[in-house]
């Protein structure tokens, strides 16, 4: 392996990065010499990894996440760590403890979240590709808002080892890039089994996108075009589906009744898991140190109160409540039932159709500060969380602009049919480009 270094001196006017690696080593391989940005919740040996939280300020992991090892082995240069909502908790990247990222398409608007930094870095042309993570839409939302391509792979297709957990049962690391081909290329590098993540599957990705979608059956769920979805956005997405039909696909209407409970199931599950995952941040082993002169519980309380942001504290409280004795059955256990129902609905539909299509987000990117009450922000995740609950692959590919802002077409497929989802996105992209 030939080792060299690339100089990375970007003009980070959108605040996409939390850490910039100005001299990044790279080598030979599939991604030789390509600068890849990595979301700041993915562990990078020797590079500060904060999850955009004060509680991890100064934390330099002693090990690489599995995907980062794979990036390095394939010759990529880790060019920096990107901004995000603190611990992935948000849909705008405004919840970063280190300030928001701006949308390169319109700096008065958010880039989406939580992988907003990765999306902005790609959209602004600072890097060719980036890694994001997607718990309830955190790759697809910013991809849609910034006008790039982002894939949430099938749950288990990419190792989570080294990903600082927010909601283990829902999240996946995935590729983000300007083109479907680059998303596919990055997927070739990061997918596959890792013995350190026992929820990962031995399903490597060796695919090259194929634009031939003749005979493809596309399910169009009515819930994806109902109340709350901006009509202009809905129009653009319907038009995109029409383009797919022109390419030889047929569309079939369908329904996902379990969608009614999807958002509730999602928020109960992710806050519950988060309340447990984030309990380890106590100032004893890393991050800002706890005051050792105090009793341990006072010191823990102070460190956590001072260094977690408002939204993180809110979700920890929600999750702690949902798991507490007497409420577990009412919330967490019920959420798991609802999750199973979503899974079943998708299985039923995907037995008849190859993919399901709809908008990625119900609206275009919000203006900064627009989603000030948490509930309206949670509602914006309604079209992305079902894929996480079902564990299926979902991609967002740009399908035009509304009010000058990018809109994303979302394509979801069956478990381990990431290749199919990528083909459909590729076919659409090629048809629009040519």
């Amino acid at each position: 392996m030939v080792l060299s270094e690339i100089e990375f001196e970007p003009d980070d006017r959108y605040h996409a990065f939390l850490t910039i690696c100005r001299k990044a080593p790279c080598g030979d391989g599939k991604l030789a010499g390509i600068a890849v940005a990595v979301k700041d919740n993915i562990s990078t040996k020797g590079i500060e990894t904060t999850c955009a939280s004060k509680i991890l300020k100064g934390y330099v992991p002693p090990y690489d996440a599995h995907v980062v090892e794979l990036l390095r082995q394939s010759g990529a240069a880790i060019s920096g760590k990107t901004n995000m909502d603190e611990f992935g908790m948000g849909t705008t990247t405004e919840n970063s403890a280190f300030g928001p990222t701006l949308n390169p398409a319109d700096t008065s608007r958010v880039p989406g979240g939580s992988s907003g930094g990765s999306a902005a870095a790609v959209a602004a042309g600072m890097v060719r590709m980036a890694l994001g993570t997607d718990t309830g839409g955190s790759i697809r939302c910013p991809a849609a808002f910034c006008g790039i391509v982002g894939l949430k792979p099938t749950y288990g297709r990419v190792s989570r080892f080294g990903l600082i957990a927010y909601s283990n049962s829902l999240e996946q690391i995935g590729p983000m890039a300007n083109t479907v081909s680059d998303v596919s290329l990055l997927m070739q590098v990061i997918a596959g089994h890792d013995r350190r993540d026992t929820t990962s599957y031995n399903q490597p990705y060796r695919h090259t996108p194929d634009a031939d979608i003749r005979g493809l059956k596309v399910g169009i769920p009515q819930e994806y075009f109902g109340a709350g979805v901006d009509p202009t956005v809905a129009e653009l997405v319907k038009h995109a589906i029409f383009r797919l039909e022109e390419l030889g696909a047929t569309s079939v209407p369908c329904s996902i009744p379990s969608m009614e409970y999807a958002l509730a199931a999602y928020y109960v599950t992710c806050t519950s898991e988060a309340s447990s995952n984030l309990a380890r941040f106590d100032g004893v082993r890393y991050g800002p140190a706890a005051d050792t002169k105090k009793s341990w519980h006072d010191a823990y309380r102070d460190v956590r109160k001072t260094n977690f942001g408002t939204e993180v504290r809110r979700r920890i409280m929600l999750g702690t409540f949902a798991l507490s004795s007497g409420y577990y059955g009412k919330y967490y256990a019920k959420a798991q039932v609802a999750k199973e129902n979503v899974k079943k609905d998708f299985a039923r539909i995907l037995a008849d159709v190859d993919v399901i299509a709809g908008p990625t987000m119900p609206t275009i990117a919000f203006t900064l500060g627009e989603k000030s009450d948490p509930l309206s922000m949670y509602l914006a995740d309604i079209l992305t969380v079902p894929a996480n609950l079902a564990g299926i692959p979902a991609i967002s590919v740009p399908c035009g602009k509304a009010d000058g802002m990018p809109v994303g077409l979302q394509i979801m497929g069956n478990h381990f049919c990431d290749e199919r989802v990528i083909d459909v996105a590729y076919a659409y992209e090629q048809a629009v480009v040519s």
Partner: protein, 482 residues
């Protein structure tokens, strides 16, 4: 403990003797190394690390389940037990909650009232050990505590019994039997410090149940429960109520102390560990072959070596002792099995306990030699004990250790019996010097004979056989008297 029945149930945590930890590859052999030297991102709970299950630990736990006739359940899973404590790096312990590895089963012990007491088991599950706090100064007033994560992630098996024991003694027997069983299965080493922890539930029939936590020794269980029974009976006698509570056992003081109420309010917020898949290991059960277990070995010792019930029970009560016995008698089972049983069960174990050392300090070959010296009459029983003590002391002081015959020669302990002349001279001397006792003897006071034998033993420094001395003195006195 007579009167109102006492009801005891135990929760026993044992470290499984695997090479690596439960969820990472770190070595479990940490006891002689510095703090935080057997750690990695996983057992330190570093952000982003994930557990990978050590199948060996599950296999070990399943051997236990099979040996105790438990049902390994079709699908078990790991859960998180959430609580904050500085020794708990992730602020949750990965354990098993509502889907444990195995349920049911039993362990049989000798009941206090004779017969066999069958103690039913509730469940068996596997979990990780937390780290360890080292308090600088005492726990209440120490200036600070240090935390060592070497122990974090060591696999534990938790065995929960039904409240089927009726006394502290039965609880102790249960523990001893359990320890023996685990050791016979090759999954546990009771001699490793801190490898066992016990929580005991105890109530006096009709009263509330008290949980005593923090018991770390076999003796401690009996002590803690005895203390609790006295405490609870005293309360009842004074017309007070026993409160349902958790108490800590303070081993050094031999008492239990109420845990702060805060600790009792813990809500552990259990939920399934999302980073591990459910276990489907039931099919493994068929592939497990069990070794000879303590009860079977006890029966065999009685049949094969002619051991008494009591000796057989003692000899098979610990794996090390049983193996040691068989090694010692192997060169000549016919000749050695009886004296070796007596010498190990009645003498050696006591000497080891007195010194607080392990059987590992005794070389089986040399012990065989010692038993032979006693058996063939080269030395007396009394000298045998002396030789054994020298052997153990040399081991303890790390001195050059000598063979038993070398010790016998150096200390001039060889039995004087062969030299009848010398012995006769000694007896003549004793008779001459103790005319009062001689007269008493002639007047029919039997105690006087014992006195004379004792005097003769003293003069031969224990090298002569009391029986022989007895015969010779009686003989001489009757001759002279005639």
């Amino acid at each position: 403990m007579t009167g109102t029945p006492v009801i005891v149930g135990l929760e026993v945590h044992c470290q499984l003797d695997t090479q690596s930890k439960l969820f990472c590859g770190c070595s479990t052999d940490y006891r002689n190394d510095g703090p935080n030297t057997h750690v990695c991102p996983v057992c330190l709970g570093l952000p982003g690390s994930m557990p990978v299950l050590n199948k060996k630990a599950i296999w070990y736990a399943m051997r236990v389940a099979k040996a105790l006739s438990c049902d390994v359940i079709h699908e078990s899973e790991f859960s998180r037990k959430n609580y904050f404590y500085p020794d708990l790096d992730k602020a949750y312990q990965i354990t098993q909650y509502d889907k444990p590895l195995a349920q049911g089963g039993y362990l049989e012990i000798d009941g206090d009232e004779g017969g066999i007491r069958r103690v039913r088991l509730t469940r068996i599950h596997v979990e990780e050990d937390p780290g360890r706090l080292v308090h600088m100064g005492n726990a209440e007033r120490g200036k600070y505590s240090l935390v060592d994560y070497n122990r974090a992630g060591i696999p534990l098996i938790e065995i929960v019994s039904e409240p089927d024991m009726r006394s502290p003694k039965e609880a102790r027997k249960f523990l001893n039997k359990l320890r023996a069983t685990l050791e016979y299965l090759g999954v546990f080493d009771s001699e490793k410090e801190g490898s066992l922890r016990v929580d005991a539930n105890i109530s006096i029939a009709g009263s509330e149940r008290v949980e005593v936590k923090n018991i770390t020794s076999y003796k401690g269980v009996e002590k803690a429960l005895t203390f609790e029974i006295t405490r609870q009976k005293n309360l009842l006698r004074r017309g007070l109520k026993v409160e349902r509570e958790t108490r800590h056992f303070l081993e050094a003081r031999g008492i239990t102390q109420s845990a702060r109420s805060k600790e009792q309010e813990h809500d552990y917020r259990y939920f399934p560990e999302p980073d591990l898949r459910p276990l489907h290991v039931q099919p493994w059960v068929a592939g497990i072959t069990l070794p000879e277990l303590p009860d079977a070995r006890r029966e065999r010792f009685m049949a094969q070596y002619g051991c008494s019930m009591n000796h057989a029970r003692t000899l098979t009560g610990e794996l090390r002792i049983a193996n040691f016995y068989e090694t010692v008698v192997a060169p000549d089972p016919k000749g050695l099995s009886a004296p070796a049983a007596t010498w190990i069960a009645d003498t050696l174990i006591g000497e080891l306990n007195y010194r607080g050392i392990s059987l590992d300090a005794v070389d089986a070959e040399r012990f065989t030699a010692l038993v032979r010296l006693i058996k063939d009459g080269t030395i007396t029983d009394k000298s045998g004990v002396e030789v054994l003590r020298v052997m153990l002391d040399q081991r303890m002081k790390n001195e050059q250790d000598e063979t038993p015959s070398r010790i016998v020669a150096r200390l001039n302990l060889a039995r004087t019996a062969g030299d009848a002349h010398a012995l006769a001279a000694v007896i003549t001397e004793v008779i001459a010097q103790n005319s009062k006792a001689v007269e008493d003897y002639r007047n029919g006071k039997n105690g006087a004979l014992n006195f004379l034998v004792g005097q003769a033993m003293k003069k031969t420094r224990g090298r002569s056989d009391p029986g022989e001395l007895n015969r010779m003195i009686t003989g001489m006195l009757s001759t002279r008297g005639a």
